[in-house]
């Protein structure tokens, strides 16, 4: 093998290794057919916002925190999704973890959120099978089943694709 060919092969191997490494460590989405937990959540506004009360809708549950920089950065994109798909049956709910209530209320007021926010706790996180990192987002179909879970920084292109499918289908 000449030197040039060896360099080309090494370069291809390096690119492939970097790609595989990024793929295995990057944010991931997984799907599950588990039913959404039947729990009642109370939003900061005082209203009940349990997934059950949104029966027949596509429900996006975003576990986040105001202290979590990437979570905060994603809020405008969740608001845009709610704007775009709200009339087609999407209902987003934010569940905040480990935020002091006062600071959370200020953040929500200043952000002019267009979906309800709930103060989360261990019970709620465990009802969703555990939330061991933020942000974590679940998509619940019209059938009440959890169709996707996204852990880590959200891939909004993939998320929107999934929402578009779910709002159109009966699932």
């Amino acid at each position: 093998m000449n030197k040039k060919a060896a360099v080309i092969i090494a370069a291809i191997a390096l690119v492939a290794a970097v790609y595989l490494h990024r793929r295995s460590n990057g944010p991931k989405a997984s799907s599950s057919a588990l039913p959404a937990p039947a729990i009642t959540l109370t939003a900061l506004s005082g209203n009940n916002v349990s997934p059950a009360s949104y029966k027949g809708k596509v429900v996006l549950i975003n576990f986040w925190a105001a202290w979590c920089t990437p979570c905060r950065a994603e809020i405008p994109q969740f608001m845009a999704l709610q704007d775009k798909y709200g009339s087609r049956g999407l209902q987003s709910v934010g569940i905040s973890l480990d935020d002091p209530e006062g600071e959370l209320r200020v953040f929500c007021r200043e952000s002019k959120l267009n979906y309800p926010i709930v103060m989360g706790n261990q019970k709620i996180a465990e009802a969703f099978g555990g939330v061991l990192g933020l942000p974590t987002t679940f998509l619940i179909g019209r059938d009440g089943l959890i169709h996707a879970k996204y852990e880590g920084a959200t891939d909004f292109a993939k998320l929107e694709q999934k929402i578009a499918v779910l709002v159109q289908s009966g699932h």
Binding site: P27, K28, A125, L132, G133, L134, G152
Partner: protein, 162 residues
């Protein structure tokens, strides 16, 4: 003819200077990255598989969790002592008090895993604080995405509760 040759030589010199400048700027950018920024691959990081191996050895490190309680109570590295988020001064004060009596050559591992690595608000302040206190065998657990995806789902040992 001579003028043309001089122009070509000048062009070569300019090109050479540009190349040298690019190399020097790249090297400067790499060196400018402070150790406190803990880039992936830094010598002060420990990978999950390395920590899991250390947990099985006789020389177990002291493990400190500097992340949110909500995640700690659901799952944590066995034996990890809970400190709490060190993004705020009160968290750093707790950390200082917790390790005050430890010998400075103790094998310490700190971790959080609340958020993707580059956004974690807790591990860097904790690392800086412990370095300033003089801890010489300090490692930070490198969690690329979250504690759930990089530790629990990989099947490493996990404990639950307070």
């Amino acid at each position: 003819m001579r003028l043309r040759l001089n122009k070509m030589r000048l062009f070569e010199y300019v090109l050479l200077i540009c190349l040298v400048a690019v190399v020097l700027l790249t090297a400067a950018a790499v060196n400018a990255q402070s150790p406190a920024e803990l880039p992936p691959g830094s010598a002060d990081l420990i990978r999950p598989e390395e920590l899991a191996k250390a947990l099985r050895s006789s020389a177990k490190p002291t493990i400190l969790n500097v992340g949110p309680r909500m995640i700690y109570v659901q799952a944590h590295v066995p034996g990890a002592e809970y400190i709490g988020p060190t993004a705020k001064p009160e968290g750093l004060a707790k950390l200082r008090a917790h390790v005050a009596s430890l010998p400075r050559d103790s094998f310490l591992v700190i971790y959080c895993g609340c958020c993707p690595w580059e956004h974690c608000p807790n591990v860097r302040p904790a690392y800086q604080e412990l370095k300033q206190m003089g801890f010489t065998r300090l490692k930070v657990l490198y969690i690329a995405n979250t504690f759930g995806s990089d530790w629990v789902e990989k099947g490493y040992p996990t404990a639950k509760g307070e």
